[in-house]
Amino acid sequence: MPATRIVAPAKARKGEVIEIKTLINHPQETGFRRDNVGRAIPRDIITRFTCTYAGEEVFRMDLFTGVAANPFVAFTTIATETGDLVFEWTDQHGTVTREQARIVVT
């Protein structure tokens, strides 16, 4: 499973805007390149990234070949309740990498 990094606050006040940063180790091979003997390097990209917060989707992104390797995605949401942030990266083969972080809202 590819390595990931998640930066999200462990605690927040209700109604506060929180920033979430994510990074995943992935080659994002475009499929347009050739190796040093001229063979095409097959495409290998992440196509979708989603984040759910306490079961509700708060962020979704489609990725294409123009996105660089090791995609970094930062976004904001509003702290509503204590719950899990679940991050899912789905690659073109349907393989899902899942990470989660707990946030306590007071």
Binding site: A3, R5, V7, K21, L23, N25, P27, Q28, A68, A69, N70, F72, A74
Partner: protein, 265 residues
């Protein structure tokens, strides 16, 4: 004339003050310490921000991978790095004095070489390929411990012949373009080369995450790219020439803080 005399006086005064290690090679640095600029200062503010914020820095993916490998037993001896060294933080400051001359081996070792040597001798494990992901990860982990510390290598005593080799290579015109390192990185730094500003060519952030590579890479990979840039035949990664050059580069960057993992264009 006056300035040359002043320089000579400075050398003598330096020796008298016991600054011999810096001057033992009889070489003054082409770039004065006050003019030293890390490669960080030649990249865009966005790239600088990406390097400075460790939560965003993609090189940290390798550092984290290195931490996992650090604790994994490897080889016939079934030992992990942690079994001998404890926490990675205990190696704080080590990267700042590499490459070093190893008296037992009679040759120069950089961090990659030291890790390989440890693997072979202590762990009895198979060697890792020079540019392989695990070796990059472990090197990044060790170098990262010294982030912020000034570069400070020894170039006197047994290291001196290697230093001289590195210095000669640095000043030697090479390849179809007939260029030496010094012509760009000492004489022309700050000028434009197509869309980019020429850096001083300091090696204080390796392994680096290079945007062009889209991955982490070693100093030797970067040096090989330089050789190719001037249309010269690059030595293999880990070759004695590149190690000697690495020592000379570390001496040139004396005092610059280590930035591993640096992010470069």
């Amino acid at each position: 004339m006056t300035s040359r005399r002043r320089q000579r006086f400075a050398v003598l005064a330096g020796l008298a003050l016991g600054l011999a290690p810096l001057l033992v090679a009889g070489q003054e640095r082409a770039i004065a310490p006050s003019d030293l600029r890390s490669g960080r200062e030649f990249v865009s503010p966005e790239t600088q921000a990406q390097q400075d914020d460790l939560t965003v820095n993609p090189g940290m993916l390798w550092v984290e991978q290195g931490e996992k490998l650090w604790r994994e037993a490897a080889g016939e001896a079934g030992q992990s790095c942690a079994a001998c060294h404890g926490e990675p933080s205990r190696l704080k400051g080590v990267a700042a004095r590499y490459p070093v001359y190893d008296a037992k081996l009679g040759r120069l070792l950089n961090l990659e070489g030291r890790i390989q040597h440890c693997r072979a001798e202590r762990q009895k494990a198979d060697p890792l390929a020079y540019e392989s992901q695990p070796l990059l990860a472990l090197t990044a982990l060790v170098a990262h411990q010294s982030r912020g510390l000034p570069m400070s290598v020894a170039v006197d005593g047994p290291a001196q012949p290697f230093f001289e080799t590195g210095r000669a290579l640095y000043h030697e015109r090479q390849g179809q373009l007939d260029l030496s390192c010094t012509q760009c990185h000492d004489e022309s730094w700050g000028k434009r080369l197509r869309a980019e500003r020429i850096s001083q060519g300091h090696a204080n952030g390796f392994p680096i995450y290079r945007l062009e590579w889209q991955t982490l890479g070693s100093l030797h990979r970067r040096l090989r790219a330089c050789f190719q840039g001037v249309r010269a035949e690059p030595p293999a990664s880990g070759a004695p020439e590149l190690l000697a050059l690495e020592l000379y580069l570390a001496w040139r960057a004396h005092g610059l803080p280590i930035e591993t993992p640096a992010v470069r264009r």
